[in-house]
């Protein structure tokens, strides 16, 4: 299973949730499969998906799923101690760890070698860290959303990409329709 197949399997679980989605192919895949005002697509700023998700979860009541990538977590490692030390139980961080910078042509990252993101997250102080196989992701994510505990899921999947169209929605529209949805759900 590659990232695109993982997305296909989790769409039914996240379709009604507030989602912050990583830059590049992850956002494009989610947009292609299930475009929703509840999806915030990152069009740039590699690395900040988990930070935006945590900030959003701290600011309001609704559950937030940040769907990040291994390469992006590696580039913003400082995020893990911040997450560990600012526990908000409405936050789920799903790291799709395909062991590569998928969006730029699957150049290998260090997580496909000796570095374990789950162990790093634990070492940073994160309490509920679950590493799972790609096939288990939908069930693990569903359980995490049903439980009321901040959870970090590291989904180990294969690298590989499929062709997907670009996102042409203007960024302010993405942001505005997302905020309208956040506001509505917090009323």
């Amino acid at each position: 299973m590659n990232r695109s197949e993982v997305f296909k399997s989790i769409v039914p679980v996240i379709t009604d949730e507030l989602v912050i989605c990583n830059i590049g192919l992850p956002s494009q895949e989610l947009h292609m499969l299930d475009d929703q005002p509840t999806n915030f697509y990152m069009l740039g700023t590699m690395g900040l998906c988990s930070s935006i998700g945590l900030g959003l979860a701290m600011a309001q009541r609704e559950k937030v799923v940040a769907i990040d990538g291994d390469g992006s977590i590696l580039t913003n490692f400082g995020t893990l101690p911040t997450i560990a030390n600012n526990v908000v139980d409405n936050f789920v961080l799903l790291i799709i760890d395909n062991g590569s910078y998928g969006s730029t042509g699957d150049q290998p990252t260090y997580t496909g070698k000796k570095t374990s993101l789950a162990k790093v997250a634990q070492a940073c102080g994160c309490d509920n860290v679950i590493e799972c196989k790609a096939e288990e992701t939908a069930d693990v994510l569903k359980a995490a959303l049903e439980g009321d505990k901040m959870t970090i899921i590291v989904c180990k999947c294969e690298s590989g990409n499929i062709p997907v169209p670009n996102i042409t929605i203007p960024p302010v529209v993405i942001r505005d329709r997302f905020m309208t949805e956040v506001e509505k759900r917090n009323r």
Binding site: M58, Q60, N76, R175
Partner: protein, 168 residues
């Protein structure tokens, strides 16, 4: 560490509706950070890097908060991509209270190196920039906070050593 000016600045932030602040410390900002931690009206989340902090602010903003980042000017370089592709691209209002190291009164030579680049970088990015040098410059803070929300842009408030030390 706290003093009148730090109390005044944090008081103005609260008055201006700021309720979420992320910081990476600077010696000049120690008093402000102390004051933040005393306030129960501001959610203070220390971040490990300034671009990470801006990500937290963007999320908090989308969750209905009014964020502010407090940082040193030496961090400007690491935030440029984030300012351009997140804060500006998605039109997120973000006041940046920045200690302007490397100006008159600076004891550390290395700080001058980034001070030289600070205003040119901000100008290049098209970021409205305000420089607090004299103590009374603080009077503009409430208006700057309003202005930031009005135009939905990042704004920079550069605060130098003379400002923090007061008029001598």
């Amino acid at each position: 560490m706290s003093d009148d000016i730090s109390q005044r600045v944090v008081g103005d932030l609260i008055e201006g509706g700021i309720d979420f602040v992320t910081t990476v410390p600077c010696k000049q900002l120690a008093g402000v950070i102390d004051e933040l931690d005393k306030s129960d009206q501001i959610h203070h989340v220390p971040s490990n890097k300034e671009d990470e902090g801006m990500g937290l602010c963007a999320g908090a903003f989308m969750g209905g908060k009014t964020p502010c980042i407090i940082m040193q000017n030496t961090a400007l370089g690491v935030t440029i991509n984030t300012l351009a592709t997140l804060i500006q691209f998605y039109q997120i209002p973000l006041p940046m209270l920045i200690s302007f190291r490397g100006e008159l009164g600076e004891p550390v030579a290395c700080q001058v190196e980034m001070a030289i680049h600070t205003k040119p970088l901000l100008q290049q990015l098209g970021i409205p920039t305000f420089h607090f040098h004299k103590r009374e410059d603080v009077e503009e803070l409430p208006e700057i906070l309003k202005y930031t929300q009005m135009c939905s842009k990042p704004t920079a408030i550069l605060t130098d050593a003379t400002f923090w030390r007061g008029v001598r």
